[in-house]
Symmetry: C4
């Protein structure tokens, strides 16, 4: 049964099994896919009473941009595979909601089409074997209005996934191909030699956009990112798709948040299922909380309208949850609102 916060059952009804599995799958035994979800639930909420919660305001900022909610759209590739509207549909729904949209390097719509409908948006960067392509994608994105770059660090190689699918993502990522005339497929593969130095390189190439490193799961890495010039770190294990058996994001988050303190902003994603998980993430130090598969299921189920409904449902559910824990704004969601069991 579908709920407004989880349209996976609806999506399963309309997607070819191969595409469904491509979205759902994780690496290895899919332990991390499950552990991500479970770990949020192991943070018990400790609501406050009698605080007066008539007006809750979810507005916040992310790297200086004002957004309507801490909930954001995490980058996921190949969105036209799940619905013909693809990234354009998702970007439009996010814009309507006033939520941040992150566009994947592996997008399947034309950059200009996405940018035309998008509200505030960031570009997710995979450094490709042919760095020239990466530079081109970055430059064009800057020109099209991207406000930050999200360098994904957890994918030096694309890992073997659990459920093999006949869906071959390589050729579905058409955005980058549209922007260059390189035809050699291997040029578009992940570069395995990405290092901290690439944070500076991306700042340069982009003319100074803030860089967020996505895939950070440790305090020392977080500090190293900041030292190398990152404006933010994004706690993620790629939704359990890259390396199974890693620490769940709800466990890694407080360690990372404590490590960077006020030196950088902190984002998180992985297994978030409702407003309670968002509140937990805020309490543990996140400024923004990403939705990956949830957006894809909603897009699959009902295109841009589906994503708009999803974001609206999150807003309502998060507002109610904030009232019930006794917080009126994201900054009012403090660490004492959760406890590990």
């Amino acid at each position: 049964m579908s709920s407004p916060l989880d349209r996976e059952p609806d999506a399963r009804g309309v997607l070819p099994p191969d595409i469904h599995d491509y979205v759902a799958t994780g690496a290895g035994d899919e332990e991390t896919v499950a552990a991500n979800r479970d770990a949020w639930g192991r943070w018990w909420l400790r609501p406050r009473v009698l605080t007066g919660v008539s007006d809750v305001d979810l507005t916040t900022t992310m790297l200086g941009t004002t957004v309507s909610s801490p909930v954001l759209v995490a980058p996921t590739g190949y969105q036209r595979q799940v619905h013909r509207e693809g990234e354009v549909g998702t970007a439009r729904a996010a814009a309507e909601a006033g939520a941040l949209f992150v566009l994947s390097t592996r997008a399947s719509c034309r950059l200009d089409d996405v940018a035309a409908v998008a509200g505030p948006w960031w570009l997710q960067v995979y450094v490709l074997r042919d760095r020239g392509i990466t530079e081109e994608v970055v430059r064009r994105s800057v020109a099209a209005g991207a406000r930050a770059l999200v360098l994904t660090g957890d994918t030096p190689v694309v890992s073997t996934r659990s459920r093999r699918s006949s869906f071959d993502p390589a050729h579905a990522a058409t955005m980058a191909r549209d922007l260059t005339d390189v035809r050699d497929d291997s040029a578009y593969e992940q570069a395995p030699d990405v290092t901290y130095a690439d944070i500076g390189w991306l700042r340069e190439v982009s003319g100074g956009l803030p860089v967020v490193v996505k895939g950070v799961l440790r305090a020392d890495d977080a500090r190293a990112c900041v030292a190398a010039g990152a404006a933010a770190v994004w706690v993620s294990n790629h939704g359990g798709r890259q390396l199974d058996g890693v620490v769940p994001t709800a466990v890694a988050l407080p360690e990372v948040a404590d490590a960077v303190g006020s030196d950088a902003e902190v984002f998180v994603d992985g297994g978030v299922r409702h407003g309670r998980d968002v509140v937990r993430a805020l309490a543990l130090g996140a400024r923004g909380v990403g939705l990956g598969r949830a957006v894809l299921w909603a897009l699959a189920a009902d295109g841009s309208a589906g994503v708009a409904d999803l974001l609206a449902a999150y807003e309502a559910n998060l507002t109610e949850t904030m009232q019930l824990v006794g917080a009126r704004s994201p900054s009012g969601v403090t660490r004492d609102l959760v406890t590990w069991r």
Copy 2:
């Protein structure tokens, strides 16, 4: 199979599914409904031997009123939905047992009818959007004999419940409507702006009755309540009906009890299933232990007689449990009788 301590199976046999579900349901994924129950069981009992337990006396006091047992009837609304005798039946059974009865603001019988049969009783207060109605309910209850006010703090808004039911509680709460001539439905909704200041307001309106804050799950909140004039705090998460994923009451209780020390009395409810849980609650610092759904199932199964049987079964079971842990009175149930596993 029904047991004398749990008439849910019997109730299911007689209640319309909608009403059954309305009573049974919790918020979210109903994790807290289950966690409340489980958490009691995670406190292992550490019985004492050779203490001589010929005579066990369950008598105790609650805010100065002598009652026959630490077990009390928690406030639950709309009791006529589960049995035509409604709150009158429950109040009469509690009176016969010598147990404390707490009357909900959302009661469905006439106040005077309840007061006429009740033994010691308290009024549970929801501050409504139209505070005049709340004042009226409080004043009339004081006149009718209420000995304390229980301000429920965990319901600034009524949360979305898991099992949607076509039962609409709004119009079933007839007690308050009977006492006023306000017809506007929204006047009867929860006021989301309740704060600690309302503790003082309720003392004033009631001419000085002691105020108990219900829904407290944290040490700091408990101390704040006492500082604001509360005579007691009631550790509760509304039986898992308001916010899923919160700390179970059996976990929050010792923190709260330690925080208030002897400055206030402490009550608790949520997932209590037998005398062992009552003993655990007493050991962890509770003076009284509330039954919510258990009373409704008993009322549904057999009206006032069902509730009387339930309270008698608890008395017998609690007496046996006290003998087996080596305690002769509630005050003899000390902290060392339990240990967390």
Copy 3:
């Protein structure tokens, strides 16, 4: 499928369901029946290698009596209900094995018949409402050769059991009735007023036999027993039959053993299933390890021969286990051989 260490499946095949259930049942939700078993398994063994284990000797002493093994027969009543040979069959098998036998106050065979075949044995004492009967049972047992008294402290009242059985134990406990001419049934009920003072009383009545207090689950109680003159304490929760939700014996044992140190001997029972559990108990400070239901199932399956087979199987299994942990005698089973997980 029956194993030599667990004849329950065989017993189920021959026992009337009522009697089977009477033996199998526990109090409450039978959580402690399960927890007793589980808790042993949570002590991981830490075997030593290269210690040379050609000859393992299981011989030990219990309150000065030499026995062939730390495994002993715990007291259980009404043994003629499970097999016509009753306590006589069990006592004979224990005598052949050189193992300690503990005779229940609720035995169903004649005292002299048991004593005639028994090897080293102790009398388990329930103080009855008519203390004269208790005195008589003790005195006659002393005369018949009992070497110690085991005062059961966990049964001031007989608790309500989970599976109700039409088997009424009251009249099946014929040993005590045979020794007196009291006909009043209530005289044979448990006395709920037993205290530490009764340790001294039993020493007196018995002319100075050592007293073991059975049912101890806490350090403070253990010390109090020793201070009151007990020669040993027996960590037990009555196989989960008296109070559900108590601390498992494998958890209580080290606390108790540490508390009494060398001032008293320590015994334990509850959920023991094989030599590994016996080794765990020895490592945690027990001198003797009792089998309750296991003996009844063996008796039911094959009378005295069944019990003999059971004790032989334990001896073989325990010997192998000792070799594999690298210990050659019970005193070589030290605390470091286990670790809690």
Copy 4:
């Protein structure tokens, strides 16, 4: 469904049930068989990002011998029972892969046939009741090229296994019989009197080969082995086949590695299922990680080619895992890459 890393399903299809069960079984309730596997998974990985992982090199050394990978073939007996190529097939596959092969005393092929095809290999030693046979096996192995001796310490007696099998291993271990003319079966049984002194004896008999003690699960034993002249210790519980309920190897490993520090090398086996477990083992201090049943299933499924495929699959999977945790060589896999949950 078989995976390249686990050919058990294929093996089940071709093996007689008795042989399958002989390989699969563990001691007791097979808790340790399961716990070994589970315990690796309880070490969460903490990957590093942006480290540059273009070239991963798995090469390492074991007691001075260079091998292509930390993955090695643990000693298992009677390999001709699972496939006619037996130890010769396994040794050849290991040689092709450049991996270490450990030959069991209970091997079923002729020593010279194995040595003829083997790459780097060690002899696993069971001290037999007739020590002359052991000496002969050791001397002939040294002559044939064995580079170290692995003294198995966890098998002073062969334990009772859970699934009884009509397969009788005694006569299937023909290697040792081929090398001597002793016909008395009992001469080939395990000697239960093996002690630390036998480490020195084996060095002598072998003319100074390094000795590895296999079956160590404790810090104190590990230190005692080193003090007695061992060059390495091998953390193992014999794949859960000797004593059920012992500490899983993934739990014992860090304790042992910390205890020996740089005084000896540390190996481990038990329940390893993929490259992630190998990385965990390296992080916890192991230099080499053994595969027991996995090799037998591969051998059963496809003879020498099956084992070669298995080792190749491990190399690929381990390489990918190393890239995803951000390590380029076994020595780069540091303790901080894992955390216990």
